[in-house]
Symmetry: C2
DNA sequence: TCCACCTGTAATTCAAATCTGACAGGTGTC
DNA sequence: GACACCTGTCAGATTTGAATTACAGGTGGA
């Protein structure tokens, strides 16, 4: 995952740092599932599950795909993407510095990430 | 950190998964500081900082100690504890299983962590 | 005594995240 | 047509977390 801004790092940590989402990850670890089935297994309402999945997806932890089942029903399958979150003091410091670099760049009008002078 | 319950894992992730707390960690990475000084550097109100520090301390990321300065003033110093958060699918699955084990144990009245039959 | 520091907490407001219930729409089967 | 599935979204209640203000108390020095 190379260098993360603190925004990306936070999205990742906040996404996985929640009881329900941890359970979602645990369930999807055993294989891809469509939303309704997942909702049933976890005992969550479907709208709520959508919200959590959206968060996980934005953080890059899961991926969803709408598929047509054999009998023509639309089904949204979600699968777990391989991830390996590693956070140390350096990770944090690097992310914070990346922010400063971006902010400085934005002030000068060159807001390209990772670019440093 | 050996085996974590999901509660401990969540405490850790939620603690570090917040913008202000990330900044706190970043500041403490450069050395121990007392609360008022830290508040000044980050531009946070002291009560708010207390709340964040409490969270970080409960998660085991920082440690606070009340000390007497040379001129006799009470000062609460906080320092960053070494940490190395590593989260993969296995971490999550292990944590969830640990929960089940604890829950099962609690039902039988033997709520000791890590004990498995 | 007054001022400049410090710690600690209670009360309260405010914002954001979480969660529920209800709706609209689609397909296939009995 | 009625039913059992599925997706998707919105409005609103509720809960949690974040943040401010205000207070009480302590020390040392001018």
């Amino acid at each position: 995952m190379s260098v993360l801004t603190s925004e990306e790092l936070l999205a990742l940590l906040a996404a996985v740092g929640h009881a329900q989402r941890l359970r979602i990850v645990g369930e999807l670890a055993q294989g891809r599932l469509h939303v309704s089935e997942l909702a049933r297994r976890l005992g969550l309402s479907r709208p709520l599950l959508y919200m959590h999945l959206e968060r996980l997806e934005k953080a890059g932890l899961v991926a969803g795909a709408l598929e047509l089942s054999a009998d023509g029903k639309a089904m949204k399958f979600f699968e777990l993407l391989p991830f390996d979150i590693h956070v140390t003091v350096d990770t944090v410091l690097t992310a914070l510095r990346e922010d400063q670099a971006l902010a400085a760049g934005a002030e000068r009008g060159t807001a390209e990430k990772g670019k440093r002078t």
